[in-house]
């Protein structure tokens, strides 16, 4: 079982489609693998529909929380920075894990661009924000995390994702109400690679990437890839997974923000810090103050919404 932590140029493919499990696995591997200099680990995974936001983002600004709840689309916060993505089975995730010194985002993206352009006759290119674009459409979202001994760069590849769902899920109804210093996503129009070349599928892309990954790293043994069954590693990853699933991590680590509601009568300002409502400012809110202060914002979110409509209806 411990062979999963072996270093060297390797490819691991996760069988799980649960975003929390996969993020936990990614972190577990990053922290525990015996990274060898000048080698890379490629982790390939995909998730059932979910929205993944960056470490210091605000979920309310980045997505439609209510819609996610209704459609049972998972919401996760990852450990790396950057913006918010929508994942589903048409979206392939790649993580390249190396030692801190070998971290090189551009090289990783260059490998993908060269491989896909050659195999599928595309004209992908890399922007200076380290995104992969096809014409004016974004096809990947990247983020990285650098620790003392290791670093990883992960990015998504839109193959055949449901772009309508993507747009709907990432459409925030609250962003105009919120002022904060959280990282905000830089939004771009997106495109599936299969829209450009209909022969592209998850399976053939996977195969292609695995083969060229080894070539890129000058590894002769091109069959050194393994499927990971996350259940086998549940003991090791459960703590991380639990943290990722917890409302605490998802909602309460949001950087402080102020949620403002405006109506004919007054402007209400709700200050939230560490997920807790610490203050409400407004003209006549005595009852509301008692009700809300000290509460977790995400728990009373529906009631807060009612504040908007209640007042508006008057």
């Amino acid at each position: 079982m411990q062979s999963i932590l072996r270093g060297g140029n390797r490819v691991l493919i996760s069988r799980s489609t649960d975003v929390y499990t996969n993020l936990a696995l990614e972190r577990y591997l990053a922290e525990n693998i015996k990274h060898q200099p000048k080698t890379r680990l490629l982790l390939l995974w995909r998730n059932k529909p979910c929205v993944v936001m960056g470490r210091y983002q605000n979920p309310y600004v980045e997505s439609d929380i209510k819609y996610l709840n209704d459609k049972q689309i998972d919401l996760a916060r990852r450990y790396s920075g950057g913006g918010t993505c929508y994942h589903d089975f048409g979206n392939l995730n790649l993580t390249i894990l190396t030692t801190r010194q070998d971290y090189n985002r551009k090289k990783n993206l260059q490998w993908v661009v060269n491989t896909l352009n050659k195999a599928f006759n595309l004209t992908l290119y890399i922007t200076d924000r380290d995104d992969i674009f096809l014409d004016t459409y974004k096809v990947t979202g990247s983020a990285s995390r650098l620790e003392r001994l290791y670093a990883y760069h992960h990015f998504t590849l839109l193959l055949r994702a449901d772009l309508n769902e993507l747009r709907r899920s990432l459409k925030s109804t609250d962003h105009m109400h919120i002022t904060s210093k959280a990282t905000s996503s830089v939004r771009s129009s997106v495109l599936n690679l299969s829209d450009q070349n209909n022969s592209i599928t998850y399976e053939n892309t996977l195969e292609l990437l695995i083969k060229t990954f080894f070539q890129w790293n000058n590894e002769e043994n091109t069959s050194n890839y393994d499927y990971i069954d996350s259940l086998l590693y549940y003991e090791q990853t459960k703590n991380i997974e639990n943290e990722l699933k917890s409302k605490k991590f998802i909602f309460e680590t949001t950087p402080p923000f102020v949620y403002t509601i405006e109506n004919k009568k007054q402007t209400i300002e709700i200050t939230v810090s560490n997920g807790i409502i610490t203050d409400i400012k407004g003209n006549d809110l005595i009852n509301e103050k008692k009700q809300f202060i000290g509460q977790l914002f995400h728990s009373v979110y529906d009631d807060i919404h009612k504040l908007k409509t209640n007042y508006l209806s008057e």
Binding site: Y56, S80, G81, G83, Y103, S142, S144, R148, P255
Partner: protein, 503 residues
């Protein structure tokens, strides 16, 4: 620039030196900072020793240091994150002031666009100051936190990562005992009670050997001292160097009082100079020297002064203009190289910098677009910059954008020197003093070859010679280029009419 004076060899007309790159690790983050940028930053009083590249050696004499006396506070700078990233946002602090940290403990998390980086501590110690609030922008290479080191001198555990010997600046070494030494030492450890007691007993703490921790003087020491007062003074403690067998003929050391050292932190422009010089030192320089015959220019200047008594013109504007003219044919000398020496930018304008000793120290303001200016215009610009320099009012614009530099050190004195480049430029010149010398005339043709054996009868004249020492970036400039440029400049200076008709 730092100029080192080589010996003047009058017979030597051309000398080429090649400086080997000193074996020092390159600075981790390259910043082509102008002096003005560092002026705008709040300066901290940090000991010089906490700069990355300094390595201090200690002699074998052991001494003990206590944290309270010589505790060194190190400024832990934000290390280069890579990818050319200059600044990041501090997202989360994992420590607060007062916390104890060990090497490799997490200090904070920073974010740059899409990369999150965990910054870990390089030292063991206590957090003294956090330089940024959450969401503030931290600059790579600038202090992130201040850490008071646990031990007086920090020796890094790992060999690879960041060996910074942050040794405290020691104003006076703690005296173990040399009773002849009557230095008033302010750093004697003793509790107030012990001090009081010493006062009552009329014992000078200087005279007492402390037996407590770190040489601390205890009550017992005072009592022992009192009883031992009648006895001969205690000898030096064992670790001191061996005593010398004195022979009767050797005279005793004259009684002197050591003058106290004066310690001052390096701040402001001096600090910027430390930084830029250290950086420039990583570039392999070579120096090429030559002498230019300024006699024609001397004549010209005398003429100008006769025509217009009020004119204030020195040689420098002529030299500057001549350099610009020569640069037209040698554009590589008016270029910038990037820090990794991967790209060379041939700069269009000739923005010639002139090193000045201003009110604030050594600064190099530059005259913009010399290629378009007349000599009079250059003279006026030079004057303007000198006036501003004297008043300490040079602007950022004046101090940045330079492409080529000159140092008229000869105005103060000197002949040959080895100037240090002002990065990212690739060439610099140190101009020596114009000295009148006897120069044998050139042998013009073969007709005089018959008399070549009678050297003492060759003709000579007194000429005004100015030595010039060029330093250039040997990664991109070769000796031949420098020599050709110098020859062209020489031609222009020795034949000023050529300079004037080609303006």
């Amino acid at each position: 620039m730092l100029t080192r004076y080589a010996s003047n060899n009058a017979a030597l007309r051309c000398v080429t030196y090649s400086l080997h790159m000193l074996k020092r690790p390159p600075s981790s983050s390259y910043q082509a900072m102008s002096y003005v940028h560092s002026l705008q930053k709040p300066t901290n009083t940090i000991p010089i020793s906490s700069i990355n590249n300094s390595i201090l050696h200690f002699d074998s004499r052991p001494f003990s240091l206590s944290v309270s006396r010589l505790s060194s506070v190190v400024q832990f700078k934000l290390a280069d994150i890579g990818e050319g990233i200059r600044e990041v946002e501090v997202k989360e602090w994992y420590v607060k002031v007062g916390d104890q940290v060990k090497q490799f403990d997490k200090i904070c998390e920073v974010q740059s666009d899409k990369a999150n980086v965990t910054i870990t501590s390089r030292y063991d110690g206590a957090i003294v100051k956090l330089h940024y609030n959450v969401n503030a922008t931290a600059i790579v290479g600038e202090p992130l936190v201040d850490i008071r080191l646990q031990h007086g001198i920090e020796v890094p555990a790992t060999t690879q990562s960041a060996p910074v010997l942050a040794a405290p600046v020691i104003p006076e070494e703690p005296v173990k005992t040399e009773t002849l030494n009557k230095i008033p030492s302010p750093d004697i450890l003793a509790t107030p009670a012990v001090r009081r007691m010493a006062k009552d007993l009329q014992i000078s703490l200087n005279d007492v050997q402390g037996s407590g921790k770190d040489g601390r003087i205890l009550k017992e020491d005072l009592l022992n001292h009192k009883s031992a007062a009648s006895k001969p003074p205690p000898t030096a403690s064992p670790p001191s160097p061996a005593t010398v067998k004195s022979t009767p003929t050797i005279k005793p050391r004259p009684t002197t009082t050591t003058v106290a050292d004066r310690n001052e932190p390096i701040k402001g422009i001096k600090k910027a100079m430390v930084k830029t010089m250290t950086q420039a030192n990583t570039v392999p320089h070579f120096t090429y020297c030559d002498e230019y015959d300024m006699s024609q220019l001397v004549k010209l200047r005398k003429q100008l002064k006769k025509q217009n008594k009020d004119i204030k013109i020195s040689y420098l504007p002529f030299i500057i203009k001549a350099c610009s003219q020569a640069l037209l044919n040698h554009p590589i000398l008016n270029a910038h190289v990037d820090s990794k020496c991967e790209n060379i930018t041939y700069k269009g304008s000739h923005n010639i910098g002139i090193a000045m000793d201003t009110k604030d120290g050594l600064l190099v303001p530059n005259i913009k677009n010399v290629q378009q200016l007349s000599i009079t215009q250059i003279a006026n610009e030079l004057n303007r910059l000198q006036q501003l320099g004297k008043a300490g009012k040079l602007s950022t614009d004046d101090l940045t954008g330079g492409t080529f530099s000159l140092s008229n050190i000869g105005a103060i004195g000197g002949t040959y020197a080895v100037p240090i480049l002002l990065l990212p430029e690739v060439a610099i010149c140190a101009l020596g003093k114009i000295v009148r010398r006897i120069v044998p005339d050139e042998e013009d043709d073969e007709s005089s070859s018959s008399s070549s054996s009678d050297d003492e009868y060759c003709s000579y004249s007194v000429r005004s010679m100015m030595s010039a020492s060029w330093s250039a970036d040997h990664r991109v400039i070769d000796g031949a280029t420098m020599a050709r440029f110098s020859n062209e400049l020489k031609y222009l200076l020795e034949n000023p009419l050529q300079l004037l008709i080609n303006q």
